[in-house]
């Protein structure tokens, strides 16, 4: 596991979403609270012009995961086991502010509450990240507390769109849609497994493609409940989406994510996907 003494490294994924986070809680008494700013620029936009759900989920995973990890110190660190996000308003481009705090610090698990607010103070999303406490080989990472980290370049110019950067390809199927991506080193977290935010983005893409295929309209993921059942290690990764029904708040979609190289199911998700406009003819 990488030792992030000076905070200038981070994963390629956290550098891509350009998270800047700082610790604001009374860490010496055990309270773990973080605040983060994420400039949500064009490369993170999705259908309808709002911030892509996969990008939001990646931010939540980064900030919430860091909170949980700090709460597990000094002897352990964490890996995400489930993530839930409910969007209340479309996150328009601009700077997003995240606040997270650990609401339960157990011996084997952590629960982190995360809120996302727009630059004008509008609540945009609310989420919960659950993490398992593990002891890494070589020991837990060491941090200078209170932490203050900035990942990624100062400017987002010339960054490819998130789905393109990950290399996600989608196609319709009789049952819905599939989204596929190779598991490259750039997409791994410090544990060497597929980054949780990347899994979430593949889920996001698959759900949108399923609803787009069903309705003929552009569609954007609004809510997501994602369970990480096992590490994604080999790849390629494939998310298979099927639409379960329609409600006033959107279409309900079920997604299974398989590590094709390891021949196993490693994540499941339920998303709510909303229509955001008419699909442009290709």
């Amino acid at each position: 596991m990488k030792r992030l003494h000076d905070g200038s490294l981070g994963t390629d994924v956290s550098r891509f979403v350009r998270v800047a986070m700082r610790e604001v809680g009374d860490w010496e008494s055990g309270e773990v609270r973080l605040e983060a700013d994420c400039p949500a620029d064009d490369h993170l936009l999705g259908p309808g012009g709002g911030i892509r759900a996969g990008a939001l989920l990646t931010m939540v995973d980064n900030v919430g995961g860091m909170s949980a990890g700090l709460a597990a110190l000094p002897d352990a660190w964490v890996v995400s086991t489930s993530m839930m996000l409910r969007s209340s308003h479309v996150a328009a481009p601009g700077v997003l502010h995240l606040s997270s705090h650990v609401v339960r610090a157990g011996r084997n698990s952590m629960v982190t509450d995360v809120r996302v607010v727009g630059g004008d103070g509008t609540p945009l999303a609310s989420g919960v990240l659950s993490s398992a406490v593990l002891t890494p080989e070589g020991g837990a990472p060491e941090w200078d507390r209170p932490i203050s980290l900035r990942y990624g370049p100062e400017e987002a110019e010339d960054l490819p769109r998130l789905l393109d950067w990950i290399g996600i390809e989608t196609r319709r199927t009789d049952a819905g849609a599939v989204a596929t991506a190779e598991l490259t080193d750039a997409l791994r977290n410090p544990w060497g497994i597929l980054h949780g935010g990347v899994t979430a983005t593949i889920v996001d893409a698959a759900g949108e493609a399923a609803v787009r295929g069903l309705t003929g309209s552009e569609a954007a993921t609004a809510d997501c409940m994602l369970h990480y059942l096992a590490p994604g290690r080999v790849g390629p990764v494939q998310a298979t989406a099927s639409v379960l029904g329609h409600r006033p708040d959107g279409h309900l979609v079920r997604i299974e994510v398989h590590d094709l190289g390891a021949e196993r199911l490693f994540a499941t998700a339920i998303t709510t996907v909303r229509e955001v406009g008419v699909e442009e003819p290709s």
């Binding site: 509450d113 369970h227 059942l229 029904g245 499941t268 339920i270 709510t272």
Partner: protein, 294 residues
């Protein structure tokens, strides 16, 4: 509080909902809930909170079987309803698999060292898919006082949790003791009685989920200006609610004309210890034009 070996007591929500359970040899299971007027909303659908009780009972049983002789505690519960109607009242528990019963089907997705994850499908009274849920359980070392789970290795055929005299005597929220003290803030409470305790003496997870649903429905309904019923919930259980009463408040995150979303905090006792946090989406429903007769 009823002794562990007598759980659940004769009068208990699991018995009075007349739930039935079945475990298969492969570790999967099914459960049934008779649809009566007492479990319906004004819109005619089965309350999401009641479905949460059904899902919780079924999945917890499978998780216990997977970790036996150890025990489990519910870490989180999610339930996502498709929005389709969930059946008419009027069926009886004799109508196995026929109209009048909700069926839940569950399997263990992952049995890890410290957690178990189960997935549950919910079918409406006609057998059509009506929802899906997942539950995560923390694995706990067995302690003295835990009831004997005692599931035969090969499972067991359908068995009813009802005993003579079981059955709801009024609307389920009244039977649970849930009261609304302030609709706009979603302030609701439930006393901690034997009727709603789990085998460890704290508030049963499905009942806590019901409390969260009601809290959100009240607050979202007030914000939207129309009746709404929970269609999607995610509950994270942080601490056992052992003291009582449990009380909940809601913060409305979104309020559209026909749906909304709220964050709900569930607190335990006068001290207000945070027992659970929930996110609930609720959508507008119309009252039934033809009242259901049982």
């Amino acid at each position: 509080m009823a002794p562990a070996e007598q759980y659940p007591p004769r009068r208990h929500v699991h018995r009075d909902l007349r739930l039935a359970l079945e475990h298969a040899a492969d570790g999967s299971g099914r459960a049934w809930l008779p649809v009566t007027t007492e479990v319906l909303t004004e819109g005619g659908g089965v309350r999401a909170g009641v479905l949460a009780v059904l899902v919780d009972v079924l999945a917890a049983g499978l998780a216990l079987r997977a970790v036996s002789p150890d025990w489990v505690a519910t870490a989180d519960l999610t339930l996502h309803l498709t929005g389709a109607p969930l059946g008419d009242a009027g069926g009886t528990e004799k109508d196995h698999g026929e109209a009048g019963e909700i069926e839940a089907r569950a399997r263990v997705l992952r049995r890890g060292r410290t957690t178990v994850v189960c997935e549950v499908e919910v079918l409406d009274a006609s057998g059509s898919p009506a929802g899906i849920g997942t539950m995560t359980f923390a694995v706990l070392a067995r302690r003295d006082g835990n009831p004997a789970a005692g599931t035969p290795p090969g499972g067991f055929p359908r068995v009813s949790l009802a005993v003579d005299g079981s059955g709801l005597r009024g609307p389920v929220l009244d039977e649970l003791g849930i009261t609304v003290t302030d609709a706009a803030s979603g302030e609701v409470r439930v006393p901690l009685a034997d009727f709603v305790r789990n085998s460890l003496g704290s508030l049963q997870g499905g009942v806590l989920a019901t409390l969260a649903c009601v809290s959100a429905e009240e607050a979202i309904g007030a914000a939207c200006g129309t009746r709404v019923d929970a269609v999607d919930l995610h509950v994270t259980y942080l601490a056992a609610a052992r003291e009582g009463p449990a009380h909940a408040t809601a913060e409305v995150l979104a309020a559209e004309s026909d749906w909304g979303c709220a964050r709900v905090d569930v607190l335990d006792g006068p001290g207000g210890r945070l027992a659970a946090i929930a996110r609930v989406t609720a959508a507008a429903t119309s009252p039934r034009a033809d009242p259901v007769r049982t």
